[in-house]
Symmetry: C2
Subunit: 477 residues, 2 copies
């Protein structure tokens, strides 16, 4: 007998009534067979036909918007405006990839060598079925019909989505839209497969299934590394693109004007606390200059953040991890800790700030690691050299930001340092709010992502799921 599971409503602090059942082993085996057959058909479709499929998914989602929203809100505790933002982002991604396919950006090149009667055509082909694991913090944009799924479809890969257990209902709704779209454009069953699981069992098993040819994941380092290890342990290792989070360092330059100190502090406070700071690009580390600029900035940051109203986190587990993370940070000697005094009567993500110096920051590994939620560590630096030492201590990051008034040496040196450490350098802006465009790179050196050469956002993300094949033809003379 399979045990059912329920999703949690963070806004109400109660469990939702719907019951979901993990896909059975028998059903999973059947689905994998169907998927495998479908790949041989879907993989041969033209870019145009794949674009039609994406367009149909877009239309189908639009029609079911209100229904999806209901599940989204009650399974995530996220706000109505946040739903609208994420909804728009999800649909924009689909549209962008659709246009990309129609504009024939998919690589194909032919050369003729008449003297040898040889013609070589280099084409892109899909890797094969892709396993996509829904994320906890983006129930739409990085889940069932999110960036990984759409990139894989665009590449010509069939997709198997393992829904995130926290958003099972949202995922089922979106999955039905994709299935509807598949039928509309007359694609065979198996082009899209949806699987439910309350634990890690299916993900682990699927990672090792030889029909799965690539993996897309957004989540924790622990989860991502476990998938990488499994995929690497296979007789034939397969590519895994895991986006595994980041502390996203921010540097405040001493030369910031009084007015800018205020504006930047306010922007950062919002970026830390928005949607309970549950973003992989949340600024979790701010390097602040010792002295007046830094003090004024810090004061304003604290004032603004103190005014923010705590909102529920995605799930009691995530809330629990956040509380533990804060406790870990607060227990480190040499760290000054301030946190919201908001009474904890639910699973609200109460903001916290910690302050330390560069020496302590470098000494304690935990300070260099992510605390998922509305938390940021302020590190006071005394000189450019000290600042660079602090940045140097960091492992790979998704983003790095610098706020400055004039382009000083410090800015130049920081950009250089960040170009080794991060996937996106942001000048005078916050890291949250990733744009889905052709120039966006969302990834970074390990452990921010599993492979620094690929992006999770934008049409270039299709390359994660494609391979090249040359077809060389000798014509008889």
């Amino acid at each position: 007998m399979l045990t059912g599971f329920r999703t949690f409503n963070p806004s109400q602090n109660t469990w939702n009534t719907e019951e979901y059942f993990p896909t059975s082993e028998v059903a999973l085996a059947e689905k994998l067979n169907t998927l495998s057959l479908a790949q041989s058909i879907y993989g041969k479709l033209s870019a145009e036909a794949r674009a039609d499929f994406l367009m149909a998914i877009h239309a189908s989602l639009e029609q079911r918007k209100e229904h999806i929203k209901t599940f989204y809100l009650k399974e995530s505790g996220l706000s109505n405006p946040r739903f609208e933002t994420e909804w728009k982002r999800t649909l924009t991604t689909i549209q962008l990839f659709e246009q990309y396919l129609r504009n024939q950006y998919i690589f194909e090149k032919t050369e003729e060598f008449p003297s040898d009667s040889i013609r070589i055509q280099k084409v892109t082909l899909p890797l094969g079925p892709v396993l996509v694991l829904g994320s906890s913090n983006f129930p739409l944009a990085y889940s069932t019909a999110g960036g990984d799924t759409i990139a894989a479809f665009a590449a010509g890969c069939c997709v198997l989505v393992k829904a995130h257990a926290m958003h099972a209902g949202t995922s089922v709704q979106v999955a039905e839209c994709i299935e509807e779209a598949r039928k509309t454009v007359n694609l065979p069953e198996g082009v899209f497969t949806h699987v439910l699981d309350d634990g890690f069992q299916h993900a682990q098993r699927l990672c090792l299934d030889e029909r799965i040819q690539a993996i897309g994941f957004t989540g924790s380092f622990k989860g991502g590394k476990a998938l990488m290890d499994l995929a690497y342990s296979r007789k034939n290792p397969i590519p895994v693109f895991a986006e595994m989070g980041s502390v996203n360092p921010v540097v405040i330059d001493e030369n910031l004007s009084h007015e800018q100190q205020k504006t930047v502090a306010e922007k950062l406070a919002l970026s830390i606390c928005n949607d309970a700071g549950q973003f992989c690009t949340k600024p979790g580390l701010i390097f602040i200059p010792h002295g007046q600029t830094g003090e004024h900035f810090t004061e304003r940051l604290k004032q603004t953040i103190a005014e923010t109203i705590a909102v529920p986190m995605l799930h009691p587990n995530i809330h629990g991890n956040f509380e533990n993370g804060k406790t870990e940070i607060a227990s480190i000697s040499g760290v000054k800790f301030t946190s919201s005094s908001f009474p904890q009567n639910g699973i609200e993500g109460r903001w916290a700030l910690a302050e330390t110096d560069v020496k302590t920051f470098i000494e304690y590994q935990r300070l260099q690691e992510e605390v998922f939620g509305p938390f940021s560590l302020l590190v006071i630096y005394n000189s450019k050299e000290e600042l660079l030492t602090g940045l140097e201590a960091l492992s790979g990051q998704l983003t790095g930001s610098i706020f400055y008034e004039t382009h000083t040496n410090l800015v130049t040196d920081c950009i250089e340092m960040l170009s080794r450490k991060v996937g996106r350098i942001i000048l005078n802006d916050v890291p949250t709010g990733v744009r889905v465009t052709e120039t966006m790179h969302h990834g970074g050196p390990f452990p921010a992502s599993s492979d620094v050469r690929f992006t999770a956002v934008g049409p270039d993300s299709i390359q994660r799921f494609q391979k090249y094949v040359s077809i060389q033809q000798k014509n008889r003379t």
Copy 2:
């Protein structure tokens, strides 16, 4: 005390007189420091400046051609014409990559979002220092100034070459050319580093050194997988591109005309035996139709191959492995074995052919694996279905060829099957003789290469050693 080592002269069946010494641990540590410093300078050069460096290497090599040739011939036993071919290929690669850099093909894209005063520029940056391990079978084209090194330089990466012990002298000569070129264009010491070693110690240590950011390798599965494992075991895993060989299946279609049966057999005999069959693209497996076409083809193949003169293999070890490989194949029941009766008075690679049916081929894993040298396995198929079953049994391959007169269903089905299994599909030609062009894909699904998404040949191979970074700038309004 370091022990010196010597290289072997296969043509003379004697050891060469020059003595080489493994780079000491102390020297290696110093070289790594210098390399690391050089990366911060070389990595910032323009594509134009990198092109100048490649041009200087080209010029420097040209000047030392005769000297390099002397070492090449006495350290490989390869022929004069083969030297000329490989020499040309090495220089062509350098020229092609130089042009590629000058034509500004290196990706860079900018988007403006005026309504938000945001500008995003996506650029490519070098991964960092690349470790290149010289191959045994291409002392020039896949070694010191070979495809991996030139691709890494083009990408903006400093290169550390660990010479193949069999070609230490050739490698030292080429290394001196690169150093000369480096000085000509005023690049700092450390842009290129050359290391000698008689064993695996340095390669293993370098694989784990945190300053090394990527690895290029051409060689055996055992060697490539060992490097992959080491690179993956690092705290921060790094990309490895390992090209690990292949059996390169060839399919003979039944509809081949009498004339074509003869021509194809002759072409294949040459492709199997040329330079003692020491190519990763050597056709090591030929699917032959049961019946008259197959019999005539096989007869002609055997006649031609019997007339070939055995030439020395690269090294006694390689010769020993080849002899062992043949013994392993010959010992499998259900395999008919024919080999050259040429007396073994040296380390000549004496050709061998084996014949079996699809059933036996599928049953014995060893039959599906490479025998490096002038050997090919002939597998007789009774039907299209049986042929496809045989192809299906294969793991990832660099190439797959089909010889046919008319484009039958069998051809269509083979192309489809091969598109899943190989990196290059060849219609009516042999797999040896890889062209260095933009449309060439040299790689394939694991275990032919470590990552199916990249190529070892052509300008696209630069992508193995590059990453993307987005620079997002908010302009104050």
